[in-house]
Amino acid sequence: MNSKQNNSNFLMGMLALAVSFPIIVVCSAWFFPGTELWGHFLENLLPELIVSTFILLLGVGIGVSLLGTVLAYLVVMVEFPGRQWLEWALFLPFAIPAYVLAFVYLGVFDYSGYAQVWLREYTGMPGFDIRAGSWAIILTFVLVFYPYVYMMARASFKRQKIQMIEAGKMLGAKSFYVFWKISVPLARPAIAAGLLVTLMETLADFGVVSLFNYSTFTTAIYSAWGDFRSIEVAAQLASLLVLIAFFLIYFEKKARGKAKYYSSDISHIRPYQATGITGWIVFLFVFGIFMLSFAMPMLQLIIWSFEKYAEEISQEYSNYFSSTGILTVSATILTVTVATVLALPSRRKAESKALQLLIRFSTLGYALPGSVMAVGLLYGVQNISLVSIQLGGSSINHILFGSVALLLFAYISRFMAIAYNSASASSDQIKPVFEQSARLLGSSRMRLIREVYIPMMTPGILAGGLLVAVDIMKELPATYLLRPFGWDTLAIRVFELSSEGLYDRAAIPALIMVFLGAIIMLLFIRLDSERY
């Protein structure tokens, strides 16, 4: 039995190592000598970039935590007009790719956008450059990423014991005090988990920051690569992102602490009623967020689409559809399967710090810019080929480059964080007593996994899977570099058109993507409502 346990640890370790492969390749760039480029960057670029990246992370972090938590609290704890549909509608912005939201916002709110033109005309107010400073880009990121925190915090609030809140109320605590001193501390691990994902994605973003021409760490990475043609320095810089992500995970763990706050019973009673004018104010706030983050951008995309529909729609679209569909479905299944294996509870795993660390490491691909990770993967394959040639074999480059297999591998590595977090959140709730009693009854580990763990983890696994699916569908840089011939996806089409400045035509594939993403989110919501 002992050796079996070791086997399963070994298997998990190998799997985590495989997932970490591109991350390891990127980090190994430090073995190459640095160039004089570092001197130029340290003097001219990095001081400013570190400050602006920090401001961005801080702003986005505070913003999504506040917005996500407050919205989740309102829909779970307060009864107000429209609450029922808004509770679901607030998930939808997740279906919009961040760079699409950015080009819509710039089109509407920048100096030449209609919002400002209208303001100038009717109020005489002077125009302004929304790309100056950092507030507008922070707001954009907050509006596109708040669903991560909202989703997690909402699930957590749903599980809070209503009695504690009732007790607080009976003891005369003001509602804000109950929110701040009871509910939020209890939801802290969930909020931190949503925040972590947001910050990793913000760190790795290239699309939104280039549209706003805002400089972050990724600017230096692409400058090293694109301007100075040094892929080594680019990888070295990128590996610093991995380091930052590692610290973030560490802090998240700290925030979570050892405590498990979950209770298993879910209550549908809402402790607060917002009626009359208060109710409408709450409604207006929540509805406003929904309008700004989803309805308005959708409307803009539809307006643009109408103008260019005939020009853009072609037979190619059936191809974009099928590539997007096949890649999304198969990569999601693979990612979720690997994540589930890594997240299975086991006593041995709980005891092995090294294994836990390795598994955590394997989720860091999310913080790497997609194209850096993809090139890392190509270099990794190249290294294997070199070893294989050394051993008298042949190169495998031509088999793997441009194969769906390599692309799927890239997706697994890149989105492991989302699938793993979700799967492990549900496996953390499985009490160790199951393992003990199963052992006592002489049941095998396989049987335990099949009959106890998997069914108990299924909701978490599926929820993670749907989120991963939306993310894969939106993925651009890795797909762009690694895809086989003819496997253009909708995301690629959006990019090819928008990067030529043809935003109105790009709106069509973008709209289709949002539509598909919304269907996936609806599935997620169905699943979620069955759970509660």
């Binding site: 100096y111 125009g127 021409n213 190169s395």
Partner: protein, 343 residues
Amino acid sequence: MEYKVNKKVSIFSILVISILSTSFSASVMAASDDSLTVYSTRKEHLIKPLFDAFTNKTGIKVKYLTGKGGALIERIKLEGKRTKADLFMTVDAGNLWYAATQNLFQPVNSETIKNNIPNHLRDPANLWTGLSVRARTIIYSTDRVSPDELSTYQDLANQQWKGRLCLRTSKKVYTKSLVSSLIHHDGLEKTTEVVRGWVDNLAATPHAEDVHIMTSILAGQCDVGIVNSYYFGRMQAEEPNVALKLFWANQDSTGTHVNISGAGVTKHSKNPEDAIKLLEFLSSVEAQKIYVGLNKEYPASQKIKADNLIALWGDFNQDKMNLSVAGKNQADSVSLMQREGYK
């Protein structure tokens, strides 16, 4: 319930295995047919009509893979001798120059191409050739600027343009190549002064796209900017009376900076003869007409006239600096812009 889960799992695994196996076999099989393969950073909607015309004429099929410059170059490098790419096609002379330094191309000695495309638009060692030309020049508001006030790129650094200038980000390759050409003509020191003046004169954070520069001028955020000619061409095709005009910069000195899109035959092409045929076709009058019609660019070929619309903008003197210089100076140009805080 348990049975159901297992059944689902097995269906999933069958699906995944079949996808994996087809993907492997597809990639192996793809290596063995006699069509041409092009890796391109020029977008699909701009290249497909050209390849269709070539296939119609010669019967040779063309497959293509679009992507980002730096990443595609790495891919070709790593694919090495087994690369499927016969032709690498990209925009900006700096990118072509870099691909050449990475040993991606083989020299092509084609009289047809030499006859069609002028010298300064081709690599001195015949590794690549330009196929379409875009001028990067000054654009101004016809409401607020008179053409008498305009003269050179360098002049936009002067005090009179304070708060009136819009530029594209220094991260875009077209900006880098323009500044590279200024370094070539004026030297590092003088160009530093010019870039510093530009940054001082900016009315807004540098824009991500040339299109945004034009809409910003129309909205009154700024009065002048620098854009690639075809962006204006596209806008004018949709709105003929738009209150913007192009001004040919540096006519009395070095000529207006031009850039190209171009291509070269890859070093490890399996089918160099057909690849050269494709390249020759792309330089021919027939293909050059498609280039010009699709994207409002200037032909690289000396043998045809520009599209009616862009012919109305008038003739201008091109900067005759050999475009490989744009590539050579690129690192200097980026360092300079980063030092001067040109974002």
